[in-house]
């Protein structure tokens, strides 16, 4: 996918560039931007060090698990089918699908990018083990995928680093706006997933 987009961008650039006769500009863009990539990464490196150092300490102190516990009433309500299978337990059971879902969403919320993907795949595996549908995604899986792509982040460290590197006067002044907009995106995604799930169940019911 990314390969095709990359090639598409190059094709569009060279065709339009030739039509407008911008050879010099294209040359300097290539030289400037490749050097700029290194500068940007170096400028961002400090903030990224800071954040992953902080998160390592937080992990060791059990903070991720504590945040997960805070989020678990929310996930239990969002995934009632998964929690019904664990009715006898109070919190999410160790090794359960709901626990993996909660921990993945927590990792996303805290911006633990590297930890989130394995946890997410574990959540999908555990949901697949309970699923009757075989090769089609269940409603719970879809809801989980939507929550995952709408990832609400408490502190967007990459954004902070890029804005710092690009000379923002106060790089984090957009933070409250980020929270509101990403909550709205999450709500719209979850809302439409629930609606589409209901519609597809109704269609299946009518077909029988």
């Amino acid at each position: 996918m990314l390969n095709r987009i990359f090639l598409g961008m190059l094709l569009a650039a060279i065709v339009v560039g030739m039509a407008l006769g911008r050879g010099e500009e294209l040359t300097s863009a290539l030289l400037e931007q490749s050097a700029g990539a290194v500068r940007l990464a170096i400028d961002m490196a400090g903030v990224m060090c800071l954040w992953s150092g902080l998160m390592k300490a937080a992990e060791r102190a059990g903070l991720a698990a504590a945040v997960g516990k805070l989020l678990s009433p929310l996930t239990r309500r969002l995934f009632p089918k998964l929690s019904k299978k664990e009715q006898n337990q109070k919190g999410p059971k160790e090794g359960s699908a709901l626990e993996a879902v909660t921990m993945n969403l927590t990792a996303n919320f805290l911006g633990l990018g590297n930890a989130a993907t394995p946890l997410g795949i574990k959540a999908m595996e555990r949901m697949a083990a309970q699923s009757p549908k075989g090769s089609a995604a269940t409603d719970e899986m879809i809801l989980f995928l939507v929550c995952n792509t709408a990832a609400v982040q408490l502190f967007p460290s990459t954004l902070a680093a890029v804005r710092q590197a690009s000379g923002a006067a106060r790089p984090l002044d957009v933070l409250p706006a980020v929270w509101i907009a990403s909550l709205a995106a999450l709500a719209a995604g979850v809302g439409s997933a629930l609606l589409m799930g209901r519609m597809s169940r109704r269609r299946e019911g009518a077909g029988r």
Partner: protein, 179 residues
């Protein structure tokens, strides 16, 4: 209202110092060797930043070529009517298109907007907020489904894209209301 929104905006300035000191002190109280953990994590962060360079070099060049050739302006002009309808500054539309597709591509697009129009411009702020709401649906959904051999993701992609679109429109409105 202005007092309230000023208070809300000033929150942004406090999040980082409070989290930084608070989390490290909390970890210390939990008997974690804070310095060792921090250094280990920071090393990982440094590696992540350096590993960004190849993808950034490729995509910043591609975006730079689009800009220099005039193709980006052309694209923006084509998208402008749609942008006006949704109330989005047209400069950020290429980023909005890239967002659900590629993480490093959107980072390159964001950088381009911040450099070209300024980090504190309306377009720069909108792009910043937009960059954060919505992950790469076209990447995450196939990867997660593929890992458990699910071939039919049903309505997952449309629902995720609706969320993404809502985030895009909301970013523009909120930035305009706040700044």
């Amino acid at each position: 209202m202005s007092g309230l929104s000023a208070w809300f905006l000033s929150l942004g300035g406090w999040v980082m110092p409070v989290m930084f000191c608070g989390i490290l002190l909390y970890s210390g109280a939990k008997k974690v060797d804070v310095m060792a953990a921090f250094l280990e994590g920071a090393g990982e962060g440094l590696r992540t930043a350096l590993e960004l360079i190849p993808a950034l070099a490729a995509l910043l060049c591609a975006v730079g070529l689009l800009r220099a050739s005039g193709a980006l302006e052309l694209l923006v002009k084509v998208l402008e009517p749609g942008a006006r309808m949704l109330g989005i500054p047209e400069e950020v539309l290429p980023l909005a298109l890239m967002r659900p597709v590629s993480g490093s591509g959107s980072l390159a697009m964001l950088r381009e907007v911040l450099e070209k129009y300024g980090a504190d411009s309306l377009a720069g702020r909108t792009a910043s907020v937009m960059y954060c709401c919505g992950d790469t649906a076209f990447y995450v959904i196939p990867v997660y489904c593929g890992a458990v051999k699910i071939s039919d993701s049903r309505y997952a992609l449309p629902a995720a894209l609706i969320g993404c679109l809502a985030g895009t429109v909301c970013s523009a409105w909120i930035v305009r209301a706040f700044f």
